[in-house]
Amino acid sequence: MDIIVAALPLLLKGLQVTLYIFVIAIILGFLIGLLVALLRLAPIKILNWIAKVYVDAIRGTPFIVQLFFIYFGVNSLNLISLDSTTAGIITVAINAGAYFAEIIRAGIQSIDKGQTEAARSIGFTGAQTMRYVVLPQAFRRMLPTITNQSIISLKDTSLLSVIGIADLTQQGQIQASATFEAFKVWLAVGVIYFIIIYLLTLIANFIERRVQVR
């Protein structure tokens, strides 16, 4: 037990990094997803195509390859220089963005056409209809799937340890090799991830109940 107590401050420091990257990346990812979903549904062929290529490319390649592509690949071009944290955030964001795009697209398409017609017949523009009528309803339906994808993305951040980001997993690795207590340390790391994800689920459930359509 004293080994865990000794390791805990560093593990929690790692958790801080994990959460920092997760929060920024998930917000960015969501905005990317919303934009791509709207491009996907826009009445302009070339925009649909761009959105589809992006989604297919991300879904069709492993996360770790995307991470290496951005951190090693893009950096090797010597055009910009991304530090590991920035590269990590970008990778998680564009990865989650592709999945969010599909979730949001499906959510928008699940809203009855009559809702759009009613709003347009009142005199709302297409954008106003999206904002006041379609998206608020679509988001309520999407919440469970959005939560799910957020949890997946949080777990994906553990892969960022391979490019040297000092996240929870990386700190676990350091502690495990420093103490020779791999079993205890990794158990502790697992428990910490579990608690965070459990809290995330509770918050999501709370929001879901609050916004339920009557």
Binding site: D112, Q115, R120, S121, F124, Q137
Partner: protein, 244 residues
């Protein structure tokens, strides 16, 4: 001058021609009822009047605005504010209360003050007999109540014309009367109305003119007593003998 003018209107969905050369005029304060078998194009005709359907050819002029003119870019959103529409399936916004359903348009489009919009909405709810439902959600209402809210929502934009697309077809029989009563009241107040309906009694009693459509054409139009009592065309006779 007529408030709605339709000239040589055509509409196709893919290769299927649903409207073939429709010509019609509606005068201010007139109540026009459109009847006909399903698939005759009457709903499509109505939906062309506020461009919920893109027209394939011809001309639709609403209150002086040629909404089908491809050259002069008419702001269709502006025109739609003057044309209220009531749908068969109500299409209320389920995430908003009854009051919010009615105030959304005035607040967001007309920038009406929230309190003022609320006051107007309550007045309209009173008119349709649902003042006590202001804070309910659409899911808590019966079909007939939903449709009356939908009428109030359309009226909140203070339209010059009201379009009704089979407003009672999705209602339980005992709910139909309440909705028709509201529509009658509206007609009495001088609202210009175009009503696609299967309610022949309503068409007869309230309509100033009845249009009978079949196969994408206006087959016959006349004042209700003439059209129902003395139909001129075989197809009108055949249809009326089935529904009356």
């Amino acid at each position: 001058m007529s408030i709605i003018t339709v000239k040589n209107l055509r509409k196709s969905f893919g290769t299927v021609e649903v409207l073939k050369d429709i010509n019609a005029e509606v005068q201010e304060k007139e109540v026009i009822c459109v009847i006909g078998p399903s698939g005759s194009g009457k709903s499509t005709f109505l939906r062309c009047l506020n461009l919920l359907e893109e027209v394939t050819g011809g001309e639709v002029v609403i209150n002086g605005h040629d909404i089908t003119d491809p050259k002069r870019k008419i702001n269709i959103n502006k025109v739609r504010q003057e044309v209220g529409m009531v749908f068969q399936h109500f299409n209320l916004f389920p995430h908003k209360t009854v009051l919010e359903n009615i105030t959304l348009g005035p607040i967001k489009i007309r920038a009406t003050d929230k309190a003022e919009a609320g006051r107007l909405a309550l007045e309209l709810l009173d008119k349709v007999g649902l003042k006590e439902k202001a804070s309910s959600y659409p899911g808590e209402l019966s079909g007939g109540q939903k449709q009356r809210v939908a009428i109030a929502r359309a009226l909140a934009m203070n339209p010059k014309i009201m379009l009704f697309d089979e407003p009672t077809s999705a209602l339980d029989p005992e709910m139909v009367g309440d909705v028709l009563e509201v529509m009658k009241q509206l007609a009495k107040e001088g609202m210009t109305m175009v009503v696609v309906t299967h309610e022949m009694g309503f068409a007869r009693e309230v309509g100033d003119r009845v249009i009978f459509m079949d196969g994408g054409y206006i087959v016959e139009e006349n004042e209700p007593n003439e059209l129902f009592g003395n139909p001129q065309h075989e197809r009108t006779k055949a249809f009326l003998s089935k529904v009356l």
